[in-house]
């Protein structure tokens, strides 16, 4: 580990790390809902395990039920704490619930969490769970830009989203043979200049999720996006727009936003 510490800052959605070498990257923070679902799944797993083991213990200690109760009481208690601490400590910051919901606990400097951090954040659950249903921990997470419950604050950890990513391939709109918007380079350039990364990302997502959206929702979303672009960002001529469906309008707009060479060719 290098001597200097990384710089970090956070919004409610992401943590930004600037490494000692000056490299900047962002990590998306996990929201309270996904953390809650993962926790509920983990609780189900723990209770299932404890009850399964309990039945086995009762069977083994059938003639000495007191010892059975002793083993179950202590086993349940130990598994409750050790489940999270051991899995997170030895399994890349993930419990089974976190893995299924694509969440991961990391050190707040962007590095993997250490075993002692895993123990600290899990032992602190006795406080975060107060007075019931993790109210203290929940309020702490919601009031903190890093979404940390008290256990995370003490351990110096946070939970990030870790959806599997692959290198983005070529998109269909970059392969368009003809894009009628390119015939209007001034307006197309205006669209490129005015479109924020968020808007571009929204258009990209809307087109990519075409098959996932219900027909009605797709029509509405495409209509709203196309209307917004046409009225607020880049007013292409009415005679052109009238011939296009909202979906084609967005495909053309994405072609303008993400297809570099074609526009430069028009300019050239």
């Amino acid at each position: 580990m290098t001597g200097s510490q990384p710089i970090r800052w956070a919004t409610t959605a992401e943590l930004t790390i600037v490494t000692p070498e000056g490299v900047l990257f962002r990590l998306p923070l996990a929201g309270p809902a996904s953390r809650l679902y993962a926790m509920l799944l983990d609780i189900t797993i723990v209770l299932g395990t404890v009850n399964g083991v309990g039945l086995l213990v009762y069977w083994i200690f059938a003639k000495a039920p007191g010892f059975g109760v002793m083993v179950i009481t202590l086993g349940e208690f130990a598994i409750g704490f050790a489940y999270g601490a051991l899995l997170e400590g030895f399994w890349n910051g993930q419990t089974i619930g976190k893995r299924l919901f694509h969440l991961r606990v990391i050190d707040q400097a962007g590095l993997p969490l250490r075993i002692e951090q895993a123990w600290v954040r899990n032992l602190m659950r006795v406080f975060d769970a107060l007075p019931f249903a993790y109210l203290v921990g929940g309020i702490s997470a919601l009031s903190n830009p890093l979404m940390q419950r008290f256990g995370d604050r003490v351990a110096g950890t946070l939970v990030v989203r870790q959806t599997p990513l692959v290198a983005p391939g070529e998109e269909s709109w970059t392969r368009q043979k003809y894009n009628s918007f390119m015939d209007y380079p001034t307006i197309a350039m205006k669209l490129r200049r005015a479109a924020t990364p968020e808007l571009a990302s929204l258009i990209q997502d809307a087109l990519r999720r075409r098959t996932e959206l219900a027909a009605y929702a797709r029509r509405e979303i495409y209509r709203e996006l196309a209307t917004y672009l046409q009225s607020e960002i880049s007013p292409f001529p009415d005679e052109l727009v009238e011939m296009l469906s909202d979906e084609q309008y967005l495909i053309n707009a994405a072609g303008v936003l993400f297809g570099d060479q074609q526009l430069s060719r028009v300019h050239g």
Binding site: M1, T2, I17, T19, E21, V23, L24, F25, R26, L27, A64, P65, G66, F67, V69, M70, V71, T73, L74, F77, G110, L111, P112, R114, I115, E116, Q117, W119, V120, L123, M124, V126, F127, F150, R153, V154, A155, G156, L165, V166, A167, P168, E170, T174, R192, A195, P197, A200, S201, Q204, L257, F258, G259, D260, Q261
Partner: protein, 343 residues
């Protein structure tokens, strides 16, 4: 848009794939350190990916590509900057057994917080005791449970063996587990309440002290001082100090949080807190077993003198353990290293 994304991706994709393959290989063997060739290769690919990320961030509207590169850079950053414990470090039994010496060493190193816990508990005891002694009306408030308010009936029942059905080994085992679990939960809460800058820890210790003082005075007033001593001492000599150690851990945590920015070794601080909790939990396991299997037996089955003597012997052993174990090792270290701030 400045960057020709298509050409840029075509050119850069091979080096991203190389970095991905190298990272997959390294992540597949956790606990192993990088060899010099791998380190050099990783450093080079990391620098290139970081530069690519910079170009995409400032020169293109490509949120997905940016996300992908950020993930790649974050993974490479982890491999370069994080030194994981090796498997042999993790699975050495001797390393885990060190807890038995680490605990008393840590206890002594952070003894000022133990002293604070003792002080607050003693203040609580004094208040509880004085209230019961001089204000009989306070008894109902401080000792809501009937068996605490009216010890005579309880002592009579215990000595007559009316709770004999509870004294089978079976029920004692179940009872001990419940005690261990409950006590560890309460003690861990005291340690975790350090996050309230120690205020919660102090309140919990004080409340515990008030109850202890009130019970002690009430039983003594009614002439059951010996019964109570014999009843509480065999497990109390471990249970009460472990609650105090939980308080010590709570105050220590408060100090760590208050001085986090100046703390140069946060990992060590965290370990100290964990060691105190582990030691406290071990003590409570013993206390729970003693309470269930030994303390609940009264005269004539177990003479009170014998029970008090057992309690005294336990206390002496605990004192020796906490004050002396690991001392030679610590002294030797103190001669060879710079003394720590807390010494």
């Amino acid at each position: 848009m400045i960057l020709d994304l298509e050409r840029f991706q075509t050119q850069a994709r091979p080096r991203w794939s190389n970095l991905e393959s190298l990272l997959a290989a390294l992540e597949g063997r956790p606990g192993h350190r990088l060899n010099p060739v791998e380190a050099e290769q990783l450093q080079e690919l990391y620098a290139q990916a970081a530069a690519d990320l910079n170009r995409v961030t400032h020169g293109a509207l490509a949120p997905e590509l940016r996300q992908y590169l950020e993930r790649l850079v974050a993974r490479a950053y982890t491999e370069l900057h994080f030194v994981p414990p090796t498997r042999s470090e993790l699975w050495q039994p001797r390393r885990w057994l060190r807890i038995f010496t680490l605990f008393p060493e840590t206890f002594r190193r952070q003894s000022r917080y133990f002293a604070l816990a003792v002080l607050i508990t003693v203040l609580g005891c004094a208040l509880g005791g004085l209230a019961v002694r001089y204000d009989p009306a306070s008894v109902d408030v401080l000792l809501p449970a009937d068996y605490l308010r009216n010890p005579e009936q309880r002592v009579h029942e215990e000595e007559q063996g009316k709770n004999q059905d509870l004294h089978s080994t079976q029920s004692e085992a179940a009872f001990s587990a419940q005690l261990i679990r409950h006590n560890i939960e309460v003690a861990m809460l005291a340690a975790a309440l350090g996050v309230t800058f120690g205020i919660g820890t102090a309140l919990l210790l004080f409340e515990n002290g008030v109850l202890l003082g009130a019970v002690a005075v009430r039983y003594t007033q009614q002439g059951f001082g010996l019964f109570m001593t014999a009843w509480l001492l065999p497990h109390g000599v471990f249970e009460i100090p472990s609650i105090l150690i939980a308080g010590q851990a709570g105050f220590y945590l408060a100090r760590v949080l208050l001085r986090r920015r100046e703390d140069r070794d946060a990992r060590q601080s965290m370990r100290e807190w964990l060691v105190l909790i582990a030691g406290m939990a071990m003590m409570l396991v013993w206390a729970g077993m003693m309470e269930a299997f030994f303390s609940q037996h009264h005269a004539p089955v177990l003479p009170y003198g014998f029970k008090v003597a057992v309690g005294g012997a336990e206390l002496a052993l605990l004192t020796v353990y906490l004050l002396l174990i690991g001392r030679r090792m610590t002294d030797a270290k103190a001669h060879t290293t710079v003394p720590s701030e807390n010494k």
